[in-house]
Symmetry: C2
Subunit: 664 residues, 2 copies
Amino acid sequence: MEHSSDMSVGRIPIVGVQPSLEEGRWPAKAVVGEAVPITATIFREGHDAEGATVVVTVPGGVEQIIPMPLDDFGNSRYQASFVPQHEGPHLFRVEAWSNPYATWAHAAELKVTAGVDVQLMLDEGVEVLTRAIAEVKRPAASQKLLKSAVSALSDPKLAPDARLAPAVSDAVKDVLTAAPLRDWVTTSNTYPLLVERERALASAWYEIFPRSEGARQNKRTGAWASGTFTTASKRLPGIAAMGFDVVYLTPIHPIGTTHRKGRNNSLTCEPGDPGSPYAIGAAEGGHDAIHPDLGTMRTFKNFVKKARENNLEVALDLALQCSPDHPWVTDHPEWFTTQLDGTIAYAENPPKKYQDIYPLNFDNDPQGISQAVRDVLQVWIDAGVTLFRVDNPHTKPLTFWEWLLADIAKDHPDVIFLSEAFTRPAMMHTLAKIGFHQSYTYFTWRQNAEEMAEYLEELTGESSFYMRPNFWPTTHDILTPDMQRGGAPMFKMRAVLAATASPSYGIYTGYEFVENVPRPGVEEQIDNEKYEYKPRDWSRADDYGIETLLTTLNAQRAAHPALRRLRGLHVHKTSNPNILCFSRYVAAADSPTGKADAVITVVSFDTDVVHDAVVTFDMAAIGLTGEDTITVDDALTGATYTWGREFYVRLDPAVTTAHVAGVR
Amino acid sequence: MEHSSDMSVGRIPIVGVQPSLEEGRWPAKAVVGEAVPITATIFREGHDAEGATVVVTVPGGVEQIIPMPLDDFGNSRYQASFVPQHEGPHLFRVEAWSNPYATWAHAAELKVTAGVDVQLMLDEGVEVLTRAIAEVKRPAASQKLLKSAVSALSDPKLAPDARLAPAVSDAVKDVLTAAPLRDWVTTSNTYPLLVERERALASAWYEIFPRSEGARQNKRTGAWASGTFTTASKRLPGIAAMGFDVVYLTPIHPIGTTHRKGRNNSLTCEPGDPGSPYAIGAAEGGHDAIHPDLGTMRTFKNFVKKARENNLEVALDLALQCSPDHPWVTDHPEWFTTQLDGTIAYAENPPKKYQDIYPLNFDNDPQGISQAVRDVLQVWIDAGVTLFRVDNPHTKPLTFWEWLLADIAKDHPDVIFLSEAFTRPAMMHTLAKIGFHQSYTYFTWRQNAEEMAEYLEELTGESSFYMRPNFWPTTHDILTPDMQRGGAPMFKMRAVLAATASPSYGIYTGYEFVENVPRPGVEEQIDNEKYEYKPRDWSRADDYGIETLLTTLNAQRAAHPALRRLRGLHVHKTSNPNILCFSRYVAAADSPTGKADAVITVVSFDTDVVHDAVVTFDMAAIGLTGEDTITVDDALTGATYTWGREFYVRLDPAVTTAHVAGVR
């Protein structure tokens, strides 16, 4: 943040400029086409009029001027909307100024009507408009309009009201709003804004374990043959057909054998158990290598190419931890923690130890380890990977991430990082501020309508300027009690929520089959795919209708820009505590299509029985003021409804546990 | 604000440091003896322990180190309390660090108990404590304690638990909290904190029109003889006896005759009408002159001297506006607005004009006018004035105030400015941030318990770091509907509120007589003292018991440090919407007496009839956790009560409309 020269209050005070992250230390974030509200508190002494402008410096240095009208009189809050057109680092500042025309127009309209100081007011009008013509560039037609207003003001043959009228007309006011005469221009500090590609905000992920896709068990011997990139690539058309944007692969690297975990996280590994792909590194290589069972760099690149042909980007897992067999352990023992007894420290949660994992110690050789990770990422970026899902970033120093993400962004601004940090808010928010593009969230653990409403309002509020949520109903690590218990209706409801409440969401493969049986005592699946092969019969993927549902949801997301934005969410009151209703809205001026767009989602959190409710709908939340009713098309049932300021909904789990209603 | 060198996240992240005004642009404020909570969000990767310290640089450059314990785990919020001992500009920064001793102690206690890695844990303990001894200075006794812990850890004759015990004892932990071993010390930005004298926060003002004190009317001719500084000084012992700190005089300068206002703001001035002291300036002089009727600089200085003898400081009104007869009008016409017709602009609210006043125009010659005002202030400071009540500061540029207040503070840091700005919050808050010491507030217009509770919570919250409220039940300009209607009980109740809810409050003279008749159509007194002489018979000042009440309230304020602080106010729930209960509290560590102090106020906003309520009292708000009852002494009734977590109050206007209960 650059401070204005004197750090003083300024002739026309400007305070509380937003968005500003941690006193301008980090840039606020946006994506191309996403409206960024820029706000500031601006006021002045006495009764003269002030005005405000936002100046955005786009990459390349061109300055773009945006009018900043008064938005909230009581709080002296001005607001502009900036819709970025270019990726890259932007800067913005706020300018506040005295508005001599508005000051004059206000006084002149009152005083000429009251017959007070009439000639003086007309003379002052000539003076202020003559200045406005001389001092500010504007189109010839506008200048002509101002000149004719000056002529009328100066015409003694007209009555005073008639002399004044053109100079205070809406047309003249519009001209002087577009290109105002400004005195005492005061400038705020300059704030950074980073504009990224739209997928950094809006994306639909589909997670697979590539070794499961095409894995085959020899029925006689019981031995497994791993799936490969080649067999896994056959799944890509199916994922693409549902409309996902990203296929995310759990780690594809060689897996350690020392203390390898068996099925269901057993400490005893049976022969043939493939081990957890998160125990990275073996004789065959580390984070930059490919598990031989999966294929080679050539077949991996072929997988990426096929994904691209299916309009899918490929995301890799970045899990910065090592099995005891990782090449780094012998090549760089200084990258781990060697204890006083000479052994390398395992991962632990005292007194428990995780003997299949050595955590990296970033403090002994920060430069060396950072460069090594940077080199690993380059290998995969060169192979066509454009997104990384980062496992547990909160267990590594934030200085490391800030450097790494900045260094990647310098060369590859298109590469997106998703933070998997389930921890206290300060850490999650700061990871987002220092460069992670997307974040896993507590979506999964918000299990009733009230909690979810509160959380959605939080995520779409102030933190929307830096933290972009990615909602996952399940992952290979997470199967919450409601998902264990609620069956297909619950799986459907949570998919609707995830896909329509957040611009990014993700589905872990097998969701189609309602895989909801937990390993006793933990909130994850039994026979977890982390420790074994899990091929699925995709010919039955729509047995529960979930394949169709996901396809419908992704089609809605593609059709509705409102679903691809974070701000613009509004929760509406309902009469039933089980039922949540929210709308997503983007105004015409802020929409990439140039048309306003709104979608209303209604879900029931109790998917066991029928629930109904009256929704008290706030039309203003979707930009309507005059209208008393709207016509909506429910994408889930195909029904069309007419909804008013109060409307009735009935959610029968046998039919649907949700509405996803596009507003016509 | 100085930024740390690299603007990056830092090894142990520190964000959200408070207090910070507008990104460190202006200093937060405190007074000597007032505890300043300094907070920051601090967290780190993984599970190792972090710690935090505040470093305050006091005037002169000495650095004071303050421990900053974790205050709120969920929000990763650390808090330190700094109690300034010196006036002047301070700086503070937060340091966060890795705490290797705490990391080890946590693991060692778990693992030695579980029999895991026992020898390793003991060896690591020797290492970390040996470092702590070698690397950090501390008293010899503390070092000895650590050395004996090392000896125990190293003693193979002891059982493992016994070897460990001394090293994880409370005594050793205390030593390492006071002088910790710190790795990876990370430093926040540096923030300014301005410490002023205690009266800037805590003061009791008493406002008089000096010309009224001792004014006499000739019964035969009806002509008035003005009161003088000499006659007014006779009132000082009475004001002092009530326990006030400040006597505030409305303007004492020559009053213009052109368009002078008559009684009750009449446009027609009768012979002998003294005019409004706010129409400043006449042939006899301007803002640096004394009205000849009041006396001379010599008699004024004598008034100040007598005030001092009565432990009263003198506040003057600073009303920066001029009558048409002000010497500046002829000497410096450029300091006013000359219109196109050659006339000087009157004050106006279009189409209304105020022809007795020319507003200053600060933009034509900002340097000249600023220096002139600076010179005026020096005249009065040289005469012994130590406070200024600034009339309508929000009608002058804030750049002017910021410069003026800083320039005065440089030479006279003891001089206090009270801002009389009743306007939108942004202006009121920014005036406070740029240097005003105290602010009039909306206290007067918060006329029910709910509104008042909300307002008190607002004022004692975040804005307490810059805006210090001064509560006035009435002024010469303000007589709200409840005060017009409620009679003596209402006057008493509002005095109790003002004196006990805010560290600064003020009383406009005549309050003792319940002067509550408004001029029809406006919320100020009829026969307003602004336009006429108003001598009062002070022998009857206690007819309503208000003189006694004010004396009691000021005595309570003197006895209770809790009443002289802004933070520490808590509103307690009551069962009757007319009854407000709040406590004021200062902890022993934060109290100038070294003893905790608490006062509980209960008032009824309906002073017409009897009201009762059950108060649900939050003992934690006054620092009590174990206690179920408290004994309180009511300063108003002399009664002693035992109050529990729920207690009953009955407020009978015939007896009292309030309790002011000091907690024993």
